[in-house]
């Protein structure tokens, strides 16, 4: 299979403008004759649904939540990047582009990332026009902060609830189109299969989560905006329902899955407190602007934080990375925290935590200033841990947060299946091996508001306008496939709960495919996952029936897909014999213990093709070419 990224010719700065001019347009009068399915109503899906409906297409939008507004995007805290240079501190489209490519450790496409930086400025305009209440200065103009390792202040934010405000903006645009009759919403409806006719994506099969009814929906194109797969690790900062099912089922229908092993671990999360733990809570990265990360110098120092004098504290990020200090990228910060804990210098009851200390910031700026900046985060921390971070340092530990990998897409955001698109966290496109803070919101909205609305027209203009009825045999076949899987799950009636399998899988993934990986561990994990999967299909207990609201069945369907994706992640991690970004292979590190890339052999996107149940997947490589940036070893010293 030849992977064609369809990157337009010409200089980097003109590619997108030229491409928009060159692509085919759908006649305005014809737009209403095209139906588009959008699965997912997070930032990527809601923005796409609204924008496409505004253009005149008929949109059917699906989510498993009870309302589009509850998508996982709602939880994003810190902010959204845009190259506005409102602060006059030297930011530019090129700098945002450069930072993103470098931050991604040179494993993303120049053209995509440049376009992302270009449209970033339009996103802020759009959101403000919708009434999104971003933070402002006293003069009435927008405020910015520096975030996640950036040396300019380009992050727009709405206190610690940026995702909520952006999603509610997109949701309001979506709601307006529902009122206009251009979008039909299907809440509590889960996509369980993709339908292809003549090689093209022509619809989906869904399960109504309240009645259990399996239904077919036909369209001219399908967009998957179904989010990331971080919950393969069981414990992550993702919402409980986040899953890979839509993407994975599309993968089994032929869509390539790219760079599945590129997962991001976020350094500042609340540590695990016990076996009952159901998810992990992120403490926004913005905290690292003022909080200082440290552990005691001595192993096993059990004194209270405030009793440890400064000269017995190791501010390890400031020590090792004097120029970036506490603001090093996420992968670097996470790995260093793990190292400190592995050395026995971790704090808290489990020893798997480091301090994030605001003592000095409070002394410098006063409690009020710190409260104005982080008040809601401090409150959240106190609610969960019962401890007051104004008085004692927070305890944090890295946790799975984001997945850079995802469905392979070309420059138009189309997968290798014609008519199937993937946007937002669901695709692999822009963040390479590591995503910078405040860039996921930017990407989701760029894809939905400003990219897909153009590129989908190019495809639609090239296919016949006739609708295909959903009683076509391909729909019946997919419905039967879905019904078959459900029946199979329901009749096992084994002895173990779905969660027990999910936890077991998650632990294997975290231990062997988490912050540090090596060939031996990965091989062991692969065998282990196969065993877990085999046992799952023999011994899981899915109570209840299909024809009702059945949360056990919902979970079982999702976990069954995680059990397959997990193995592919291992394969990908094994294949990539280098360290880059969030993928740290212990065998490949510099003398100083930093990630060591191998550009000669691994400067490619690994796109995996499903070849059948329990068969090894086929690897396809898309070479990455860099014409505008020089590949360097990332250094944050």
């Amino acid at each position: 299979m030849l992977l064609n990224s369809k990157i337009p010719e010409g200089p980097l700065t003109d590619k997108w403008t030229k491409h928009k001019f060159n692509i085919k347009l759908v006649n305005p009068a014809n737009k209403r004759k095209y139906d588009i399915i959008v699965v997912g109503t997070g930032l990527a899906g809601a923005s796409a649904s609204a924008s496409l409906a505004e253009l005149g297409y008929n949109v059917k939008a699906f989510c498993f939540h009870d309302s589009p507004r509850r998508a996982h995007s709602i939880a994003a805290q810190g902010g959204i990047n845009a190259a506005k240079n409102y602060q006059n501190d030297g930011d530019s489209v090129f700098r945002l582009f450069y930072d993103t490519i470098k931050g991604g450790d040179y494993r993303s496409r120049e053209a995509n990332v440049y376009r992302l930086a270009q449209v970033s400025v339009n996103i802020i305009d759009q959101c403000v026009a919708q009434g999104v209440p971003f933070a402002r200065e006293y003069g009435g103009l927008l405020a910015n902060r520096s975030f996640g390792g950036a040396q300019v202040s380009r992050t727009f934010y709405a206190r610690g609830q940026t995702g909520q405000q952006l999603l509610l903006g997109a949701y309001s645009a979506l709601s307006r189109q529902v009122a206009n009759g251009k979008v039909q919403i299907f809440p509590r409806t889960e996509m369980l299969d993709l339908v292809k006719i003549d090689g093209k994506a022509r619809g989906i099969v869904t399960r109504n989560l309240i009645t259990g009814k399996i239904e077919s929906h036909s369209a001219h194109a399908v967009i998957l905006a179904t989010g990331g797969y971080g919950n393969v690790f069981f414990l992550s900062t993702n919402a409980m329902g986040s899953n890979t099912t839509a993407a994975w089922r599309a993968h089994k229908r032929g869509a390539l899955f790219a760079n599945p092993c590129f997962t991001q671990i976020h350094p500042t999360c609340i540590p695990v407190s016990g076996d009952h733990q159901s998810k992990l809570t992120l403490m926004s990265e913005s905290l690292r602007n003022d909080g200082r990360v440290w552990v005691p110098k001595a192993k096993g120092d059990k004194r209270k934080a405030k009793d440890i004098p400064d000269n017995e504290r190791d501010y390890f990020l400031e020590r090792k990375y004097p120029s970036f200090g506490n603001l090093v990228p996420r992968d670097v910060a996470s790995r260093n925290a793990k190292e400190a804990c592995d050395e026995g210098r971790g704090v808290g009851p489990t020893g798997l935590a480091v301090y994030l200390d605001f003592r000095d910031a409070i002394q410098r700026d006063g409690k009020n200033t710190i409260e104005a900046k982080y008040g809601n985060l401090f409150e959240m921390y106190e609610k969960i841990t019962g401890q007051n971070p104004y008085e004692m340092p927070m305890m944090i530990y890295p946790a799975i947060h984001y997945t850079m990998g995802g469905l392979w897409v070309d420059y138009n955001l189309m997968t290798n299946i014609p008519g199937l698109y993937a946007t937002g966290e669901c695709n692999f496109s822009d963040h390479g091996a590591n995503r910078l803070g405040a860039s996921a919101l930017m990407q989701g909205l760029a894809d939905g508001y400003f990219v897909i609305s153009y590129t989908i027209g190019d495809y639609l203009a090239s296919i016949p306008i006739e609708r295909i009825n959903n009683d076509h045999p391909a729909f019946k076949e997919a419905e039967a496939n879905v019904a078959g899987i459900i029946t199979k799950l329901l009749i096992i009636k084994g002895t173990r709960t779905v969660d027990s399998f999910h936890k077991e899988l998650g632990k294997v993934m975290w231990d062997y495919c988490g912050m540090a990986r090596n060939a031996k561990g990965l091989k062991f994990a692969k065998e282990k996952i196969r065993e877990i999967r085999a046992e799952f299909w023999n011994n899981v207990n899915v109570v209840g029936e299909n024809e009702e609201l059945n949360q056990t069945l919902e979970k079982a369907l999702r976990v069954s897909d995680f059990l397959e994706l997990g193995e592919l992640m291992i394969d990908d991690a094994l294949n990539r014999e280098e360290s880059c970004g969030g993928h740290f292979r212990e065998e490949y590190q510099t003398e100083e213990g930093e990630a060591k890339r191998d550009d000669e052999n691994f400067s490619y996107v690994a796109a995996w093709e499903y070849t059948g149940d329990n068969q090894p997947e086929a690897l396809h490589k898309e070479a990455l070419e860099f014409e505008n940036v020089k590949l360097t070893q990332r250094s944050y010293k």
């Binding site: 609204a50 924008s51 505004e54 009870d66 309302s67 507004r69 509850r70 996982h72 709602i74 939880a75 506005k84 409102y86 339009n122 305009d125 759009q126 959101c127 403000v128 026009a129 919708q130 009434g131 209440p133 971003f134 402002r136 200065e137 009435g140 709405a158 609830q161 995702g163 405000q165 509610l168 949701y171 309001s172 645009a173 709601s175 307006r176 529902v178 009122a179 919403i185 809440p187 919402a239 409980m240 016990g274 009952h276 159901s278 998810k279 809570t281 959240m380 609610k383 969960i384 508001y449 609305s453 009636k493 002895t495 709960t497 109570v543 209840g544 009702e548 609201l549 949360q551 056990t552």
Partner: protein
Amino acid sequence: MNLTLDIWRQKNTDTKGAFKTYAISNISEDMSFLEMLDVLNEQLVEKGEDPVHFDHDCREGICGSCNLFINGRAHGPNIKTAACQLHMRSFSDGDNITIEPWRASAFPVIKDLVVNRGAFDRIIQAGGYVSVNTGGVPDANEIPISKVKADQAFDSATCIACGACVAACKNASAMLFVSAKVSQLALLPQGQVERKTRVERMVAQMDAEGFGACTNTGACSIECPVGISQDNIARMNREYYSAKAKSDNLE
């Protein structure tokens, strides 16, 4: 700690529900309330029984999914805390805890503790937006907004649409929810053009959904997990009457 739980079980919308009592032991105080229910559900599934269904997703108080009426209070005993943020350290060994769904005719029960809050979406669809299309909008800094106004609008905009206000209100009124969105957009320059039609439409939809009238008891605001202020209701009333007074607005 050991606890006794009285939980509302209801097979579906058309079946009558009833409380069922469960004993649960070895609950640690670091668990969240929902994790305590996870433990119960694992035990139920192991016995082959249907677990207690409840809505939840983010488990950090922002998505608005969780909606438990705990010991007679929306989201339980702590103020400004969604059920998912509640931790077991707020309870004591031997406690008896009653867990019910939101009770309001506009929020029919789907199963157990899960209700249908689609009415909220329809109210937003009636006018909870600024009518701008993607593209063709002015540069963001061409709309200066005083920080005070922006902060006020933000406070209103933080509503998570969980429905606690409705559940807490003896009249099952949705005024706090509706007024939060009306206020946000009435405070901002972007919302001015549609200011009057918006409030009329949203209120009309609210009434059509069968929510009760507001008698200013203030329970909504007290039980709101994000602390949406009752001032929003006063503002919406002003907005509504001034819109009605010069009704050049709705057809």
